[in-house]
């Protein structure tokens, strides 16, 4: 390991980001269920209470609607709150505040008020947590004008998206996939600020575009490796931001490869993957050499047993098969 890189986990990268934000701006505070004494249900916020005051690391009652709404109110009142919700399934208890208030107040007030709140939550399956802790509902939030929705997949994005989100005057939802927390890797010491408006090509290729984000990025990169062994060079696009969608990066890749497969842990029906497929059809139909493919979760509530959970989720083998199907191989 050289001096300018260091080993870090995704969890620690998120914690560093929160810590940095707390140190940088007295208006920043963190609140959520068990973020303080317990250290966060995924141990992301462990140790922060010791370093910062209970005033800035606020344990909340199990009142998602009240504490998310309080985050919105505090943002209106000049603070820069980071609100943590344990999982996206629990965020449904705060849907009123997120959709009816955070997303609308700027517009309803004619631009007089802004809501610079950041709401972080875990999403996704893979830990055998069954049907009330495992869903991928970020695509729902990406439906809502007024919200920004980001999905850091890499260590760099986990480490630096938060600062950009806090600097953004709009409400930003950050979705952290549960299977990424333990992922470790090297982070360049000179890694720095990232934007929250653009998708990025994580692996260049020329035969097929694989569009994905969040927890399925590494499965997709894994599939691309397998494809490469068979001579298929897949280009992997990490959306990074689900709203506003950077369609141009997707489209320019598809125009080059002429084929696309979308990999999304959300369900297929009425989904983000459907939206991306539609955008490709609308904007790049004449560039396509094959119908757009999709690899999504099976249309079941996520089951508890390991083998069934795995069977329900997008897997590299299915991604490889879908990519090959677009090539007719």
């Amino acid at each position: 390991m050289t001096d300018n890189v260091r080993e870090i986990t995704y969890r620690d990268a998120v914690r560093e980001a929160i810590r940095e934000a707390l140190l940088a701006d007295p208006r920043v505070f963190l609140m959520g269920e068990d973020v303080g004494r317990y250290g966060g249900c995924y141990a992301v916020t462990k140790g922060l209470l010791d370093e910062f005051s209970p005033d800035r690391i606020r344990d909340t009652p199990l009142s998602e609607s009240a504490f998310v709404g309080a985050g919105i109110g505090a943002a209106l009142g000049g603070m820069r709150p980071i609100v943590e919700i344990m999982t996206v399934n629990f965020s449904l208890l705060a849907l009123d505040q997120i959709v009816n208030n955070a997303a609308t107040i700027r517009h309803m007030s004619g631009g007089q008020f802004e809501v610079p709140v950041v709401i972080r939550m875990a999403t996704g399956a893979g830990r055998q947590l069954a049907a009330q802790h495992s869903h991928s509902l970020e695509g729902w939030y990406a439906h809502i004008p007024g919200l920004k929705v980001v999905t850091p997949a890499t260590l760099e994005d986990a480490r630096f998206m938060l600062a950009t989100a806090l600097a953004d005057p709009n409400p930003v939802l950050i979705f952290e996939h549960v299977m990424l927390y333990n992922r470790s890797g090297v982070l360049s010491a000179d890694a720095g600020p990232v934007d929250i408006r653009s998708a990025i090509v994580r692996r260049p290729g020329k035969h097929v575009t694989l569009v994905t984000y969040g927890g399925t990025l590494f499965k997709t990169l894994n599939a691309a490796e397998t494809l490469a062994k068979g001579g298929v060079e897949a280009e992997v696009v990490d959306l990074r931001v689900l709203r506003p969608l950077d369609a141009e990066t997707v489209l320019s890749s598809v125009r080059k490869t002429r084929r696309a497969v979308i990999v999304d842990e959300g369900w297929r029906s009425g989904s983000l993957s459907a939206e991306i497929s539609a955008r490709i059809m609308e904007e790049a139909f004449w560039d396509l050499d094959a119908p757009v493919g999709r690899v999504c979760s099976a249309e079941v509530p996520i089951p508890y047993p390991h083998h069934l959970e795995e069977a329900a989720l997008p897997q590299p083998a299915a991604i490889v098969a879908a990519a090959k199907a677009t090539l007719g191989v």
Binding site: R27, F29, D55, R58, T60, P61, S63, S65, A66, F67, V68, G69, A70, G71, I72, G73, A74, A75, L76, G77, G78, M79, P81, D96, Q97, N100, N101, I105, R106, H107, M108, S109, G110, G111, Q112, F113, E114, P145, G146, K148, D168, P169, N170, P244, L245, A247
Partner: protein, 332 residues
């Protein structure tokens, strides 16, 4: 003018005339709105506050400019009493670009940054967590403002009421919760929706000091608001006022009022907050017919001016449709 931080109302003739003026102003404004609604100048849902004016006018006396106000969709009275300019409110009713929410909100979503008026919230109970957050921001920034939150008794059935009272008390936040108990959540009478219809008791179960006030008596509302606001400002945490009141008009402009008797409405009209204050002032010799004439003339002129302002306002160009969805950007 009374100092908003004073614990007791100073019942001078001028102050009482101010209260009377404030209530008549809201009443006449809304009567004009009802007329304009019939003319289809105002559209959408419109909820009149007529009968309940004593609460907004009374409670606002205890608030300072630095305080934040959160109200519901029945908020014309709160906006006016808070000091949101009537011109902007009327233009908003029309949906004109000169409206206090730039025309984007309408009757249910009046907003005004200058007076810290945070809406205009049309999801029952949805404003309470916002008020808790606004109060949290005050406390964390060591400012001395409080957040006043108005809501109807229907909101008490929502989880957000319970979550918000608990959180506000747990964190000892400076929130004034004002429950405007007009007995009906749209058409459902309180006893038909609450196992415990005494709302102040619910607040007390969260250790939030609460009291019941005659919401048809503007002086009583002001006195109670001043008393509890003083306690809140002194660091006593949140408090709740349950103001018992009655709406004289339908829930909205579409409501045939099948759920209540005409006699009940007429009976409550004997407690009309404007008549009550006026009679009391007359009995004590501080109100003369010329005062009423002057108030009515003043209010009439202001409303005429506001209608003219709204009428001559402009419709926002469709090209600007996507503005204010995101800061400085167009949604994609």
């Amino acid at each position: 003018m009374n100092d908003s931080h004073s614990i007791k109302p100073h019942l001078t003739r001028d102050h009482l005339l101010g209260l009377l003026h404030g209530m008549i102003r809201v009443r006449r404004f809304e009567e004009k709105c009802a007329e304009l609604y019939q003319q289809e100048k105002i559209r959408g849902f419109m909820h009149l506050y007529i009968g309940e004016e004593a609460i907004a006018v009374g409670a606002m006396q205890a608030l300072a400019p630095a305080d934040a106000v959160v109200a519901t969709y029945r908020e014309h009275g709160h906006a006016l009493a808070r000091g949101v300019a009537m011109d902007g409110v009327m233009a908003e009713m029309y949906g004109k670009a000169e409206g206090c929410s730039h025309g984007r909100g309408g009757s249910m979503h009046l907003f005004d940054a200058t007076t810290r008026f945070y809406g205009g919230n049309a999801i029952v109970g949805g404003g309470l967590p916002l008020a808790v957050g606004l109060a949290l921001a005050e406390k964390m920034q060591q400012r001395d403002g409080i957040a006043a939150c108005f809501f109807g008794e229907g909101a008490v059935a929502e989880g957000e009421f319970h979550e918000s009272l608990n959180l506000a008390e747990l964190w000892r936040l400076p929130v004034l919760f004002v429950c405007e108990n007009n007995l009906y959540a749209m058409g459902t009478r309180l006893e038909r929706s609450e196992s415990q219809p005494d709302i102040h008791i619910k607040a007390q179960s969260y250790n939030v000091p609460a009291e019941v006030v005659d919401g048809m008596d503007v002086v009583a509302v002001e006195a109670a608001a001043r008393r509890v606001c003083a306690a809140i400002r002194a660091g006593g945490g949140p408090a709740l006022l349950e103001c018992r009141t009655y709406r004289f008009r339908a829930h909205s402009m579409f409501d045939p009022q099948l759920y209540r008797d005409r006699a009940e409405i007429e009976d409550w009209k004997h407690s009309d907050p404007i008549d009550r204050l006026a009679s009391w002032m007359r009995e004590t010799g501080v109100l003369h017919d010329t005062d009423i004439t002057a108030i009515e003339a003043q209010v009439d002129a202001e409303i005429t001016q506001a209608v003219g302002f709204a009428e001559s306002g402009r419709w926002e160009p469709v090209a600007e449709l996507a503005r204010d969805v995101y800061a400085g950007e167009v949604a994609t």
